[in-house]
């Protein structure tokens, strides 16, 4: 594909998701046809995907993330079903190593009683790792196979079939998970401290004098600071994972372009590809771990009552 397109087009093609959404009536599509009425369809260009607005779905992101999540669930549920307290077999001991590692990490950072946090950490770690792992598959393999497969089946132009394999390079996926974590943070904050406790935490902290007539004037400043720090948590959580993986994906795409630049380019790109892939093994594991640990830490903060007690005194 690289040979038929400019490098910019190649990169842009790789960065576009397979979007399914609604195009309004009277919309002029990429191939020049004008829609007589609003239609649910697959975007044939980045412009179309952008024009679909919020009510569109990235089929590739959701497909891969759900598929990989199902693989995780299936493998681990099977291991859990077969697990014996006797001598563990190959896969069971592998799963147990992961579970043990997660359990220790969670116990270190989360001192409260909540049976949901540890399984959530396990889900995040394995799921995000699997999604990141898709980054190590050469960038063109799956998109090319998908594009040519679809064009063979439906007759669509393979150049207008987009396919992004790594869900975590889609901001929707990472922010979606971060939002879920954010919702849980608020839920547990309110559940553990009560609505008033949570509001107090947002308004009477960090500036606090102990005299109500002073505190009243401090509330706006406190609320501003606390709200920013609260909202910054899910945003940074989602953006960190997205940024790392997006950058990694970008480097892989750039290296893929170098493959087409003569024999020297091919040899050089081979080494670059290998080096970056090896380095990326570290990055994908680390990012999955960081996402997991930060989620656990945020959950611990949501459960923490220390500050509230400090205010009461």
């Amino acid at each position: 594909m690289a040979a038929e397109q400019t490098a910019t087009g190649y990169i842009q093609h790789h960065l576009q998701n397979l979007a399914y959404g609604k195009l309004p009536a009277g919309y002029t599509r990429t191939d020049g046809t004008v829609l007589s009425e609003s239609t649910w369809t697959i975007a044939h260009s980045s412009q179309e995907a952008a024009d679909m607005g919020f009510w569109a779905v990235h089929l590739d992101t959701l497909g891969w993330s759900i598929g990989l999540g199902l693989i995780f669930c299936f493998l681990f549920a099977r291991a859990a079903k077969k697990a014996t307290p006797g001598v563990p077999s190959g896969f069971q001991s592998f799963v147990e190593v992961i579970v043990d590692f997660i359990d220790k990490t969670v116990k270190d950072t989360f001192p409260h009683r909540n049976s949901m946090v540890a399984p959530m950490a396990l889900t995040i770690f394995v799921w995000v790792f699997l999604m990141n792992l898709m980054d190590l598959i050469p960038v063109d393999w799956l998109p090319l196979a998908f594009a040519h497969g679809t064009s063979a089946l439906t007759g669509a132009d393979p150049h207008h079939v987009y396919f992004k394999v790594v869900p975590t390079t889609d901001l929707n996926a990472t922010l979606g998970m971060a939002l879920a974590v954010f919702a849980l943070m608020i839920f547990f904050s309110v559940k553990e401290k009560g609505l008033m406790g949570f509001v107090k935490e947002l308004t009477l902290h960090p500036f606090h004098s102990g005299k109500w007539y002073v505190d009243i004037f401090l509330i706006p400043f406190n609320f501003l600071l606390e709200a920013v720090s609260l909202i910054a948590k899910p945003v940074s959580l989602g953006l960190r994972l997205f940024g790392n993986l997006y950058a990694g994906e970008m480097i892989f795409i750039l290296i893929a372009i170098v493959f087409g630049v003569g024999v020297l380019g091919f040899i050089g790109a081979s080494f670059l590809q290998m080096g970056w892939a090896i380095f990326h093994i570290l990055v994908i594991t680390l990012q999955a771990f960081v996402f997991m640990v930060l989620t656990t830490v945020y959950m611990a903060m949501a459960h923490d009552r220390e500050e509230e007690h400090a205010h009461d005194q």
Partner: protein, 156 residues
Amino acid sequence: MNINLTLIGQSITFFAFVWFCWKYVWPALLGVMQEREQKIATGLQEAERAEKDLELAQRKAAEQLKEAKAQAAEIIDGANKRANQIVDEAKEAARSEGDRLKAAAQAEIEQEVNRAKEQLRTRVADLSVAGAEKILSINIDAKAHDDMIEKLAAEL
């Protein structure tokens, strides 16, 4: 790079997988692991206890052996003493029985001798009375001279 419905879809997916893991994966795996941990802990504890028990049993056995040996020696000692005693007693009994028999025999002999003497004495008295009768040819009142005759017999 558009923010769209995928965001919500991903959140829902996230909750679904977390819920599944929470309900069906984590408790089963952790339960099995804890069970094994417990098993190993008890196993180790039991092994330690068994080792201690073994040591104790060995010490006890040695002690009992020693005791048994001492007891055996004591029993043998006692038996020896008793045997000696029995022998002594038997000797003593034999001796006393012999003495008794000897004494009885002597008494019988003495009795016999006395009886013989008595008979002899009566015979002598009779004879002397008969002799005297014959010599004197007079009738001596035996009863009147009994004392004298007896004196005579006692002198014999």
